[in-house]
């Protein structure tokens, strides 16, 4: 896929995004049209959001607005107010007005300040830069950024540390670390995201930071797995109460294999109405399945007999080639979106499309945090999406 097509996919997703204010959406549409038609436009971006708060208010603000005003009043240029306060103006070449206003800013500001807040861009050549600016203005770029990594725990995880963590777990309140969000149906050109099922996922890193603050759980993978089982059992114990079970809807529960054979799971199962059982999907990661294929095969048989659905939690396209989901007995595939997934149009993307279930209601693109993921997902046949961006769109719809 060419860079242009990639941009277009992002643009399409942006234009349809209910997140966008009308100006941001119109600007995205304008960028898309210049990309599609090849018509050239010049653009001036005033990044007011990059200014210190003091300079964004009062006297300073009035000066900046006064300098920008000619672009608002002229018929030759079009202005866009982005939600984060940034201003954009677009004019057809030779764009004399744009050049005058830019000169005015450059004369008024020191060189460093000007470089920080003024950008002069050419469309369609720099469409990608503009789209990135729109994403940033919509708060999507910051959503996409990974949270800052916590300071790395120094010590190697040991069985002694595991015992300590299990004691701390017994007293810890996990409810603040249990994330609940919805997988939603989202069709190209369709309306607001339609919630389809609820996913309850523990913030494992957050729990570890609380109950295992000095050790790196990744330094001993089998102990991490044992700790994960203990955490899963705590979550199940919390769910195995009439009031908690009563609040369950169609859900996806990520669990370790061992937890599905625990006494806590048996209690949860006994309380769950039969009709709800068929609407519960238990999700196993590929790593978990391969850590103990015998235990997986046994758990799969047990869960299916009880009418639970099974989901495969995959983080890489190649995982689905190694574990063909239907042959392995999975009803659903939950693929986590990342930049590492194959670009549209590549042989890898075609191989992934072949490995995905045939039905769109049996696969979900998860961890969607930017419109490009939705655009990619639609092309790959996904109609179900989950993640921070979907959650935001669902709540604002």
């Amino acid at each position: 896929m060419s860079a242009l097509q990639a941009d277009r996919a992002v643009l399409n997703a942006l234009v349809r995004s209910p997140l966008g204010t009308s100006d941001a959406v119109e600007l995205a549409a304008l960028v898309r049209d210049t990309v599609a038609s090849g018509v050239e436009r010049e653009m001036l971006v005033l990044r007011l959001s990059a200014l210190p708060p003091a300079l964004r208010r009062g006297h300073h603000r009035r000066l900046l607005e006064a300098a920008w005003a000619p672009l608002r009043s002229s018929a030759r240029s079009r202005c866009f107010d982005l939600p984060n306060g940034d201003l954009c103006a677009v004019e057809a070449p030779p764009a004399h007005l744009l050049a005058q206003v830019r000169e005015l800013f450059l004369r008024t500001l020191d060189a460093e300040g000007a470089a920080r807040i003024i950008r002069h861009l050419h469309l369609p050549a720099e469409a990608a830069v503009v789209i990135a600016a729109i994403e940033q203005a919509l708060g999507l770029a910051s959503l996409a950024e990974a949270p800052p990594p916590p300071a790395l725990p120094a010590e190697t995880f040991t069985t002694t540390a595991l015992s300590g963590a299990e004691r701390a777990l017994a007293m810890a309140d996990l409810s603040p670390m249990l994330r609940t969000f919805w997988a939603c149906r989202l069709d190209p050109g369709g309306g607001a995201p339609l919630p389809v099922w609820e996913e309850r996922r523990i913030d494992f890193a957050g729990v570890c930071a609380a109950i295992l603050p000095l050790h790196d759980p990744d330094s001993a993978p089998w102990l991490r797995r044992q700790l994960r089982t203990a955490i899963d059992r705590r979550i199940l114990a919390g769910l195995a109460r009439p009031d908690a079970v009563g609040g369950l809807r169609t859900s996806l529960l990520p669990l370790g294999i061992a937890a599905t054979g625990s006494a806590e799971f048996a209690r949860f199962d006994a309380l769950l109405p039969a009709m709800l059982r068929g609407r519960m999907a238990i999700a196993f990661t590929a790593e978990e399945v391969l850590s103990d294929p015998d235990a997986f095969t046994e758990a799969r048989a047990r869960l299916r007999t009880k009418q639970y659905r099974l989901a495969l939690d995959a983080r890489s396209a190649a995982t689905l080639a190694l574990i063909p989901s239907e042959a392995a007995g999975f009803d659903l595939v939950r693929l986590a979106w990342s930049e590492a997934l194959p670009a549209l149009g590549t042989p890898e993307a075609r191989a992934l499309a072949d490995a995905l279930p045939l039905a769109a209601d049996r696969m979900v693109l998860a961890e969607v945090d930017r419109p490009a993921a939705i655009a990619w997902g639609w092309e790959m046949g996904f109609r179900l999406f989950s993640g921070r961006l979907i959650e935001k769109r669902r709540l604002s719809a």
């Binding site: 040991t158 069985t159 002694t160 330094s219 001993a220 993978p221 089998w222 102990l223 797995r225 044992q226 089982t229 061992a258 990661t285 590929a286 790593e287 978990e288 399945v289 391969l290 850590s291 103990d292 294929p293 015998d294 095969t297 983080r315 890489s316 190649a318 995982t319 080639a321 190694l322 574990i323 063909p324 042959a327 392995a328 007995g329 590492a340």
Partner: protein
Amino acid sequence: MPTPSAATTVRLAPPASLERRAGLLPLGRLVAGRPLVRLVPGAPPGMAFLHLQPDMAAMAAALGGAAPGDILRHLAEGTALRLLDALGEAEGAALPAQLRAAAVDKAPLLIDLPPRALAAGAVASSGWVASLPLHSAADPEAFATLAIAARRQGWGIALRGLTATSLAWLHPGAIAPDWFILDWSEALPDNALRSLDPERILLTGCDTDAALDWGLVRNIRIFGGAALDAWAARPGGDA
């Protein structure tokens, strides 16, 4: 193997962690070395690899308690890392007696290792193959990256944990180690073998002649299991 005197003092410090207790056990008790034998029709059998594995049953017995499987597997990883350190010592000085000869003779070794041993940059001697657990291939792209780095350090790469159970739904053709270690059973599905080159298969768990015949018919050439242990243990040694 003489017990180091330091062990006595350490043992007095309560409470000794499981890792420490396991670390004090002699390696010779915790590591099994079994032959993998090349069988080619019309030629005498030859030693292909000495397969070194942490012995989980021996670990459980030595610790004298019913530890959960994940804890035993954690301790087995510790044993494998200890073994790797010992193999790195000159003349096999730190190795148990039964493995020292193999180290001095520079026999090809197949060593069960955790992926983190390779991620840490361990260097192989000539003819060493790292046998990695099935879950290390959960992301085949990450597995391929790890394998490339390990080969640069001299390692061959084998994937273990392929059984009738996992091969019933796994597509091993999606990964490309140098060797696939298959655990023989009568239920081993033929269609799973179709995507594999028989010359890259190490068929373990061959306890009967029927197992050997099963493999030979499918052009597999390297075998391990009780049927081969007897061959290696025969008077005259390992050919």
